[in-house]
Amino acid sequence: MKRNSKAAVTTVIDGHTMIISLFGDIDHHSAKRLRGEIDNNLFTNRPKRAVLDMSDVEFMDSAGLGLILGRISCAEKIGCRLTLLSPSPQVMRILDLAGAGRLIEIKQS
């Protein structure tokens, strides 16, 4: 039984690409804080490309979907191409409900 894990975000810049890694459980409670941290990094560094690494996200509900959809439009505003990396099957089911595959490139590592 996994305990409820606190959501976190780390950012690494690799050339023109910003790698944003999300961790833990993404729900309404954690999404607001994550959103602030991601946007702060995006708007400060204005990368040409950004990767949202989902491989360590253990749980996500529709608030996480809102977080991702919101970041797609933020990235567009600064001319940044956003890619989603390695969502788990559970995360993928939520993304599919909203047809997110049409809005963002999804890569499995």
Binding site: M1, N4, F59, A63, G66, I94, A98
Partner: protein, 160 residues
């Protein structure tokens, strides 16, 4: 609420009721995670598949978040969660609040419906609940509160 609040007298439980948990949580957003963890622990006695457990956690998270974000948007309140195991493998989850209620339930249940002006909420909460459970019913009275009931029957597990 349209249905009368359940009050059981002591004595024998209903025949098809195998187990039950009742949780009352104040409407703090940190309790979204605590609610789904508690339900997840309770459901684990049925040895659900990982996918079934994820579905239930997600559906509970959505319902509890709705109560906190919408039901109690004007203040503080209690979210009432009852989970029952019926027959062998049917899970009935009820999430109730005494918040502001929903004016138009049918409209609120449409995919992408959101009251969020900042555009950061997906409006997919009810769609998730509907997709991840077998049956969803929403009863709401403006000014009185909302009750969401979800039923999911888990697949048979082979005896180990």
């Amino acid at each position: 609420m349209n249905e009368s609040t359940e009050k059981r007298k002591s004595g024998r439980p209903p025949e098809n009721l195998k187990n039950e948990i009742r949780i009352e949580l104040p409407s703090y957003s940190i309790n979204e995670g605590i609610a789904r963890s508690a339900v997840s622990v309770f459901i684990s006695q049925l040895d659900p598949t990982f996918e079934e457990l994820c579905d239930i956690k997600c559906a509970v998270s959505e319902a509890v978040t709705n109560s906190i974000v919408h039901g109690y948007r004007d203040g503080f309140g209690i979210v009432y969660i009852t989970v029952k195991i019926l027959d062998e493998r049917t899970v009935r989850i009820e999430v109730r609040d005494k918040g502001c209620g929903i004016e138009d339930v049918k409209a609120a249940m449409q995919p992408l419906f959101t009251t969020d002006s900042e555009g950061e909420r997906s409006g997919m909460g009810f769609t998730v609940m509907e997709s991840f459970t077998d049956r969803l019913s929403v009863v709401s009275r403006p000014g009185k509160g909302t009750k969401v009931t979800m039923i999911k029957t888990l697949g048979e597990r082979n005896a180990k």
